[in-house]
């Protein structure tokens, strides 16, 4: 489903070149739950932006559902972001002064959907906010805001959810609730989830963990299919991977 081949992303900072992605090759199948971990500046956010079609690679090939993204124009990229990908950000990124319902309706407006309200209500009910439809972001808690953001990501029925540190701004209880929500989305709807994080506990809950450092993939491990495991509580223990420990050390550094 997601196929990166020798992808480079090079930023020019004055005279020097920064290789944010340095020859990344990666394949993510439909229905996988993948965590991308790495210290800050490792290129994981850039990788996420490229996968999310917010950014285009400097060189290399990125195929989404077999379609080459690197050659798409602005309009096509916007359509892909709208239809195939749902974004969940660390800072929620909801429109201020706008109700939860209107925030969730927004992607549908750009998708040209006419009968938006029922779909938006349904998406909000799915994340457990059926009673907060007309609340504005500043009237909601962090966890609730992230739920609205997830509802917004889900409302267009995308195949992929891209989450950038989705629990980074939340307390551990809300964080666990949000993770539970991702778990549900994954197990019940078979959504492909790609999650950027530097929290080893979060990474441990994912089926597959990709480690990235200095723009290169340095590790790729499988934790087993989470869909076969019913509860989430027992998944909270960190993986015993050596590499993961080193990454965790890097993150706390």
């Amino acid at each position: 489903m997601i196929e990166l081949e020798n992808v480079y992303k090079i930023y020019r900072m004055g005279d020097s070149e920064v290789h944010a992605l340095d020859g990344v090759s990666l394949k993510i199948e439909a229905g996988e739950w993948v965590a991308i971990v790495g210290p800050s500046g490792s290129g994981k956010s850039t990788l996420m932006n490229v996968i999310g079609c917010l950014d285009q690679p400097t060189a290399g090939s990125y195929k989404l559902d077999g379609v080459e993204v690197a050659r798409m124009n602005d309009r096509d990229l916007a359509r892909v972001r709208n239809r195939k990908i749902g974004f969940v950000f660390q800072t929620f990124n909801l429109l201020p002064r706008t109700t939860a319902l209107a925030n969730v309706e927004l992607p549908l407006i750009y998708a040209g959907v006419r009968d938006r309200r029922p779909r938006a209500v349904e998406a909000l009910e799915r994340v457990g906010l059926g009673d907060r439809l007309h609340h504005k972001p500043n009237e909601l808690s962090g966890g609730q805001q992230q739920r609205v953001a997830i509802a917004r990501a889900l409302v267009t029925n995308p195949a992929i959810i891209l989450a950038d540190e989705p629990t980074g701004n939340l307390d551990s209880k809300s964080g666990a609730e949000i993770m539970e929500l991702f778990h549900q989305m994954h197990t019940q709807q078979g959504l492909t989830i790609v999650m950027v994080t530097h929290d080893p506990d979060i990474a441990a809950q994912c089926e597959r963990v990709i480690h990235i450092r200095d723009g290169k993939i340095i590790g790729d491990e499988h934790n087993g299919d989470r869909r076969k495991v019913p509860g989430i509580a027992e998944q909270m223990k960190p993986s015993d991977s050596v590499i993961l420990e080193s990454v965790a050390a890097g993150a706390t550094r």
């Binding site: 932006n49 999310g52 917010l54 950014d55 602005d74 309009r75 916007a78 359509r79 972001r81 709208n82 239809r83 974004f87 950000f89 990124n93 909801l94 429109l95 201020p96 002064r97 706008t98 209107a102 927004l106 992607p107 407006i109 750009y110 998708a111 040209g112 917004r152 267009t156």
Partner: protein
């Protein structure tokens, strides 16, 4: 995304910042209101002058004395004393095919006194033809007759305003007024013509032409035969040019002119054209001044839109991330600018119409009434102009918004 959708989004984000939106709109409101009201006033002035010129009569030709040319210095028109009552009689009796009627007049200023009241006004010496040629109507009593003219009678027909200023509204017929110490019996009152501008026609006192020259004129003019102007009515609008030609021929012959005419012949049309030209320039000037304020309003919109784009960089990033194209963002910000300017335009049209109405109601210079005219064309013009201003000044900020890179926009704090 439909237009209605864009407008709804624009309204929502504009209402998020109500005071700022209102202030931005104020620039356009004032601009459009100024355009509407000032153009209305200009238009009203034009109509008032047109009305006055047309109220003088129909198919008129005015013959005035030429100017004195003394030692190479040319004085103003009408300074020469070349037109006489005999000229007028000749024009009337030469059997000119294009001339229907001839009405000479002689004008002088005089003080009219009745009881304790007095008024300084124009005394016009006329003949009976003056009534029809210059479109006067007698409201009560009668007009000056041919007999009055030959007899040099001391009778007067007073303008409508004189009744109030001199007689305190009482019936003046049969009363005697003194003009420059000569007693005149009032035999008629003229219907009000309204208007103003060049000497109010309702303030005049009409007396027999011959009486002015023998009894009222002072110094050298007393006993002269001179007239200030001869109004000639052509038989038909199509005969105007021919009439002018015939009049000129008769006068040249009588005055034995070989080189330069000592009289001027102008048609009513000429007067109207001159007046239209003047008021047209006035309207254009007023419109231009108002247009500048509209332009300033437009710059205000651009300024606010630029601030708005910077302020909402993050919003733009979010919208792009969830699927907005460049076109969507461009349309959104352009619609916001347009909504501001079009709404402002509508409110401005309303305000301008009210202002024009208020100015019409205010008395300007005595009885001059300026019925300002707010035409559909000026409403359309102002609205279209306001929309164009919104479009023009909205494009750059909207373009800036649309070209933002989504990643940078999302990171923007």
């Amino acid at each position: 995304m439909t237009i209605i959708e864009s407008i709804r989004i624009a309204l929502r984000s504009l209402s998020a910042n109500k005071l700022r939106s209102a202030l931005t709109m104020l620039g356009i409101i004032i601009g459009v209101a100024a355009v509407i009201s000032l153009m209305g006033i200009g238009r009203g002035a034009q109509q008032a002058i047109d009305r006055q010129i047309n109220s003088m009569g129909t198919n008129l030709i005015f013959v005035s004395p030429g100017s004195i040319n003394q030692g190479g210095v040319r004085s103003g028109q009408g300074t020469a004393q070349t037109l006489t009552y005999d000229d007028a009689v000749a024009l009337a009796t030469s059997g000119l095919s294009a001339v229907a009627a001839v009405a000479p007049e002689v004008r002088t200023f005089g003080q009219a006194v009745y009881m304790g009241n007095n008024v300084n006004t124009q005394i016009v010496g006329v003949t009976p033809e003056y009534e029809t040629v210059r479109n006067y109507r007698v409201q009560s009593g009668e007009f000056i007759s041919a007999g009055n003219v030959t007899a040099r009678s001391t009778v007067a027909v007073v303008g409508a305003n004189i009744v109030t200023t001199l007689f305190n509204g009482e019936d003046p017929i049969g009363q005697t007024i003194r003009i420059n110490n000569v007693g005149f019996k009032v035999i008629g009152v003229l219907e009000a013509k309204g208007g103003g501008g060049f000497g109010n026609q309702d303030d005049q006192i009409l007396v027999p032409l011959t009486t002015v020259n023998t009894r009222l004129q002072r110094g050298n003019f007393r006993g002269s035969n001179l007239v200030s102007q001869i109004s000639v009515q052509a038989t038909d609008a199509s005969q105007m040019d021919l009439a002018i030609q015939q009049i000129s021929e008769v006068l040249r012959e009588r005055h034995k002119i070989r080189f330069e005419d000592d009289f001027t012949v102008r048609s009513q049309q000429d007067l109207l054209e001159t007046a239209t030209q003047v008021t047209g320039i006035l309207t254009l000037f007023l419109g231009g001044v108002a247009g500048i304020s509209l332009l300033v309003g437009g710059i205000g919109i651009m300024n606010i839109m630029l601030v708005s784009v910077t302020e909402r960089t993050r919003e733009i990033g979010i919208r792009k991330a969830i699927g907005a194209t460049r076109g969507n963002i461009l349309a959104q910000f352009l619609t916001e600018a347009m909504v501001l300017s079009v709404f402002g335009g509508f409110i401005g049209v309303g305000l301008g119409a009210v202002m024009a109405r208020v100015i019409s109601a205010a008395p300007l210079g005595g009885t001059l009434v300026l019925n300002s005219v707010v035409g559909l064309d000026s409403v359309l013009l102002a609205t279209i102009f306001a929309t164009a201003v919104g479009l023009f000044f909205g494009i750059y900020p909207a373009y800036r918004a649309a070209s933002l890179n989504p990643i940078d926009a999302l990171r923007y704090e």
